[in-house]
Amino acid sequence: MARFLVLQLARLGDLVQTRRLLAGLNAKAAAAGGGEVHLAVDCSLAGLAARLYPFAQIHGLPAHGAAGLDAGAAASQARAVLGELAALAFDRVYTLNFSPLGMAIAAMFPPEVQRGYRQFAGQTDKDTLLRLVFRIARDRRGSGLNLADIWAHLDDEPLAPAQVNPEAAPRGGGLGVALAGRAARRSLPPEILAPIVRTVFRRSGVTRLVLLGTAGQAGEARALVRKLDPAVAASCVDATGKTDLFGLCEAVAGLDRLLTPDTGAMHLAAYYGVPVTAFFLSSAWCHETGPYGLGHEVWQATLPCSPCLESAPCERGHVCRLPFADPGFLRALAGSAKAILPPGLARFATDCDALGAACRLVGGEDASAPDRQAFRAFAARRLVGADGDGTDLARERELAERLYLETDWILPPPGRPLRGEG
């Protein structure tokens, strides 16, 4: 019997983006005649994880440092869960987060079963794929590999990308607006957001508008409503701070469309096959964390400084917000074929290829597209053994020269047992 453990200790969005890996492992276990998929998450997400992944056995760990929980209590709580996990013999343990907590837990398992971020005998390390991903991150514009696919490819046989999430289709519950994610800079202020909401509301032909967010975003919701047309505002239900995670799932799953920046709610919508209209700006880059699956659209800021570093202060006055206030953008959003998008903004439709999720340009300019195309061909060869027919091999060679190191060449191929007899 196959038994797998996935350690996903990050937030809501990451948990939802783990679907390709988890569903793939579940399919693999079924193909092997039965097995178990275990998932360790922060306690606050355990209930949601059980709902999203009913086939998995969920283990809650105090990873997020909940209010009122002291270190001693956290250690005692962790001890009990880790005792349960240690009693099980896992064929593979996937540690998905580059966090000391995750790698500390990985140390409990034998090195040969560890995948992803790892630790053995006090030494932290990461799989060759993740080493490559760190190198890729030096040129985010010219690369682009969805986070969900990076995690999925830690396994040798990931699930087919098109099987991860249902194709997007309206579900009848109106238009949802997710107000902000954890990174506020990735969101639009009410004065820019309001015309966008109005435009999408009218274009969608729906009669219900739902504002989604935490209690901390209630003020933002009120500011948005004040800026909406009276007719639109009258259709508005302000649900900020009124839904727990289950409630959020219920609310999102029934929508006709979700308007959102890069948020956990966006990934939930993709999970349920609810069409997403997303705007990606600041450090958000749709080729890395865009909605997974077919039928979504992303408006991506493509200024020379996009995507920026979340941790670095913006010294350009948040110029990546400006294209979203441009009348050309609003006309395009309304569906006008003649609309001219402002510079620094591109429209993408989500798709899947052999490698995973892909965003295809359908409007505006995307100067990094040729680089990204070459990169994906290169990555497809590395990850799915694509033959590379029709690809620019000279360009691939340049990428290989830049991204591969001696350690890649001198260590054995992935999946090959050390000192194997072949």
Binding site: Q123, T124, A400, I410
Partner: protein
């Protein structure tokens, strides 16, 4: 050239892995062909390389140290090249030669060859390294050579795997050895997913599994021999010889297809044939050109495998006939010596001036007084060197001898040093 000249070849082994024994077979074959061979023993450095993982430093620092360590090993190879002065550096897949070292060897006019005994689709890093070798020998055909040309490597040579008749040979086994190493249907190799899935369907045969990475499979646990430990080459040859039928199922990291489609032929095919052991081998695109239909029995599906197992278990004479024909073909065409001859001929073909930069040297024996000459002639035979080998090549071979030197060998080294110091 290559047929006449004694060459100096430095064989660079990988630190570990499946291509390590292949490197040793190559070195042995080159010596057997009369060339002076030195081996860069990269496995000796593996312990230190692994020790980096015990440092308990950040993962970024570990990666940096690993790459730096490999640069040091590369420098050691360059130093070895300076001293030994090889005509060719032959590296096996995963040999620790950095791009920087390869550039330096090219600048210094030292020819380099890689025998890339890996699947190019699975192991894609060749894109970054292949252009730095002068010759790139591979185990796959189209489209790989075209791909290599596109990244700047025009000298691709198709060089299938082989076997070493001195190692892979028929054995007379005792009854005890037959019990220890034998099985009605025997498999020797690692527990790849497709093999696990396939063998679970063969439990009604007298299946014996030898090799590592089979743990965690309850259905097969009772069939795994020697507690699933790693099998040495010597043991593998006994296992091949002791089996009624050797099952040779090519590996795949996917369990979706038990009998995977593929092009290149694994080393085990040649090794079993060379042992004169009967095998049932999974179909491969290149197999028909390497062995005829009446030399190797093949299967392309699990149904065909079961059918042929039943048939050949019941027909021992046919098994013996197949095995004898396969061994004859292997001896005639598929030894590592054949492969090395082909490789050297290819280097000479692509680089007509090779090996260049050699001064005309007198044959070693001509410069020696009697009775030293007769004694040295015997030494040349022991070293598999031709009678007209040059004095520097003889000295290089003597320096490569392991352990304490004989008085004759020491006298030759003394003579070499004396000539350097005083001339003559």
């Amino acid at each position: 050239m290559a047929g006449k000249t004694t060459l100096r070849v430095l064989v660079v082994l990988p630190m570990y892995g499946g291509s390590l024994p292949v490197g040793r077979y190559c070195a042995s074959a080159l010596a057997q062909l009369g060339h002076v061979v030195e081996i860069f023993e990269a496995p000796e450095f593996y312990g230190a390389f692994e020790a980096l993982k015990t440092l308990r430093v950040t993962s970024d620092r570990l990666e940096y140290l690993e790459n730096s360590f490999l640069q040091v090993i590369s420098q050691a190879i360059c130093a070895k090249v300076e001293t030994f002065g090889p005509d060719l550096v032959l590296a096996l897949a995963q040999a620790p030669l950095s791009r920087q070292a390869l550039k330096r060897l090219r600048r210094d006019g030292v020819k380099t060859a890689m025998w890339f005994v890996e699947d190019f689709r699975l192991f894609t890093y060749w894109q970054a390294f292949a252009p730095y070798y002068d010759v790139f020998a591979v185990i796959q055909k189209d489209p790989f050579p075209d791909r290599l040309a596109a990244v700047g490597q025009p000298n691709a040579l198709y060089l299938p795997m082989a076997a070493d008749p001195a190692v892979h040979r028929p054995l007379e086994l005792s009854a005890v050895e037959r019990r220890t190493y034998g099985a009605e249907v025997s498999f020797m190799g690692a527990g790849y997913p497709n093999r696990r899935a396939a063998f679970a369907q063969l439990l009604d045969f007298g299946l014996g599994i030898f090799g590592s990475d089979w743990d965690g499979d309850a259905a097969l646990a009772g069939r795994v021999r020697f507690s699933g430990r790693r099998i040495t080459t010597e043991e593998a040859v006994r296992i091949f010889n002791a089996a009624t039928i050797n099952l040779n199922l090519h590996s795949s990291i996917s369990a979706r297809e038990c009998v995977p489609a593929g092009d290149f032929v694994n080393p085990r095919t040649f090794e079993l044939a060379m042992c004169g052991a009967f095998q049932l081998v999974s179909d491969r695109t290149y197999l028909p050109e390497l062995f005829a239909d009446d030399e190797l029995a093949r299967f392309g599906s699990m149904e065909a495998l079961r059918e042929k197992l039943a048939y050949f278990l019941a027909h021992p004479e046919e098994r013996a006939d197949y095995a004898a024909r396969a061994r004859a073909r292997a001896l005639a065409e598929h030894t590592y010596a054949h492969r090395m001859e082909r490789l050297l001929a290819f280097v000479a073909e692509r680089f007509p001036e090779w090996p260049g930069g050699r001064e005309e040297e007198q044959a070693a024996l001509a410069g020696l007084p009697q009775p030293l000459r007769d004694e040295t002639a015997q030494l040349l035979r022991d070293l598999s060197l031709p009678a007209d080998v040059t004095f520097p090549d003889l000295i290089a071979a003597v320096r490569g001898r392991q352990g304490r030197l004989t008085p004759l060998e020491t006298s030759l080294l003394f003579l070499d040093e004396w000539q350097r110091q005083y001339g003559g």
